[in-house]
Symmetry: C2
């Protein structure tokens, strides 16, 4: 109840920004979030404690953030000079304007090379038990190092990326402030990017509001969709803060998934036969924003995705009316998108390695 | 003096942001600007009226803005679905994180095609007498239509771009609010982008502060650099609000520019022999941020650029010490970069034409 009251009060308050440039993510983020879900809603309360037992948890409203590290990480997330071409950024494939993904079947990388698998969203990625579809990175920090040096993605290498940053006095200063003198290392680059990515949660979805006791935030068909989502068994894999992301599961439990037999998933990491076609369960938060769906991007339709899941994972054919209700429920999972002040990056100079488009 | 006092006062005020999401550019922009150049400076005044006769004018602090149109234009500026691939945006080549340019010799476009000429910055582009190096677009609105349909850039076409936007209910609503019912047209797309670009000025450079009477905002060598800039004749072409952008001039006045004889410049528009190798004079605002320099990106060094200009345009070889002072002056022209809240874009749906990476 305390959290509910807090939200109710802050939604009436203006948020004072003393210095937009310095507070950056933090300020804008928080102001948008704090005025978020009280808006237009009536607090009907009474069912929070009951709903605290639901298998899906609302995204917390605040985290313990190191703002200097986050600000640095934000700059690096949008830093094209971490790529060989000087053109591709983390945001190129995990676009914060479009649900933290690129809405492409697979990503475009250096020299227009096309990646092998659909790029997962960076939003709420902190709730994943591991990163990448096959879970080969244990956390966001380890993940962040991958694309920089992947020849099909940013196509740089860790030494070059560090050299670029070391040539720029402003980065020298910012890294010193966060990590101490002389500590521009690829580990710290990844650590700062991960710290920024930790902030990229999307609280205040209508469904979270409902979990928090705002009864009228979801409609009756949406509520029925949630009941179906539980009754049919979707909830077995899609639960928790991220509504997914917390287990590995085989794609093709009820029957073999014949549309993509090339992508081996978790097997690539473990070399265990049992892990063939096993993938990290994707998050369903903001699912309306992140088409196309599945690791192989086999559909752009959320309804078709529900159909595929029920057929291959649950072994049932759902009536259209039930699929529609589940889709309606899924669309209640879109939360407040991060409000990011686009960073200003410091200029290169004569010591900075030049971009290479080849 | 009124403007100076206003700035002095507002730099002490916190700026109240009621709704970060709605105020978007306007709020963040203004808060950063208003707390801008009073910060850390002492007002010594007395020389403003004298400096009002200088051939360079400070960038005005405020404009008459239509905030709904600007917000729409900002979304379109960052809208990847205006490109065929669903990946390239206006910001890809005119990156607001890096001086409004891409810091590449020539831009990367669809399928990694490399453009024929260096991308000019979008910052302060409103001060240009025409757009593109050859001035083939009369204004920002006309310019904005070009890259969307250029097969080497965004590679879409105007009909497809409009169809994409018309498929998305949120865009239907936003265009209706700004242009009236049923008015998603390529003209209005360009008009909104241009309205956003009009806001992308960079006031509060140290040099503008000096013009406004803050004597200690530039150092003695920087001041000497400005005096040289005038005495040697740079000022003949680089003057006004943009310190350039207000005339077409031949590249190679004092002697033929032999490094690039392929790019014909203004001749492409007029077919007049006299216009061969004639280009729009580039803006020098934020010049430190926008390497490499010249239409052919022939140098990454500002000092080398000064050398080229003095040799080919003025017919003089400047001593190194003078070049250094001019470079020092040029670095005082970096203003407050636009503070942009990165937009959240609405999702595609089953009616939205799919991206095509081929």
């Amino acid at each position: 109840m305390l959290k509910m009251k807090f939200t109710g009060i802050t939604c009436l308050l203006a948020f004072i920004v003393i210095n937009a440039a310095t507070l950056a993510v933090t300020a804008a983020d928080e102001s948008q979030r704090q005025i978020g879900y009280g808006r237009g809603g009536r607090m009907q309360g009474g069912s929070v404690s009951e709903r605290s037992k639901e298998p899906i948890q609302p995204i917390p409203m605040s985290f313990d953030w190191n703002s200097a590290k986050i600000e640095l990480g934000k700059k690096l997330f949008f830093e094209p000079r971490l790529s060989k071409s000087g053109w591709i950024t983390c945001n190129s494939c995990h676009n914060l304007s479009t649900g933290g993904a690129d809405n492409l079947p697979t990503s475009i990388g250096h020299k227009w090379m096309l990646g092998p698998i659909n790029s997962p969203t960076v939003l709420n990625a902190k709730f994943n038990l591991a990163q990448f579809w096959d879970g080969r990175a244990k956390d966001l920090k380890e993940q962040a190092k991958g694309p920089i040096a992947n020849p099909m993605e940013m196509a740089s290498n860790h030494e070059l990326a560090v050299n670029v940053l070391q040539s720029i006095p402003a980065y020298m200063q910012w890294f010193k402030e966060v990590y101490g003198e002389g500590n521009i290392t690829i580990d710290n680059v990844a650590d700062a990017i991960a710290a920024f990515e930790e902030t990229l949660t999307t609280p205040n979805s209508r469904f979270d509001a409902w979990l928090n006791g705002y009864d009228d935030k979801i409609s009756e068909p949406e509520k029925q969709g949630y009941d179906l989502f539980k009754d049919k068994g979707c909830i077995i894999c899609h639960n928790g803060f991220g509504i997914g992301g917390n287990s590995f599961q085989k794609f093709g439990v009820a029957k073999p998934y014949e549309k993509d037999t090339q992508t081996l998933g978790r097997y690539n990491v473990t070399k265990d036969e049992k892990d063939k076609y096993v993938f990290k369960v994707p998050l369903l938060r903001n699912i309306e924003l992140t088409a196309p769906y599945f690791h192989d991007a086999s559909t752009w339709s959320l309804r078709e995705a529900v159909n595929t899941m029920s057929e291959y994972q649950l072994g049932v054919i759902l009536p259209d009316a039930e699929k529609d209700k589940i889709v309606a429920f899924l669309k209640t999972l879109t939360g407040d998108q991060p409000s990011i002040i686009f960073p200003t990056l410091p200029p290169s100079n004569e010591n900075t390695p030049k971009p290479n488009r080849n």
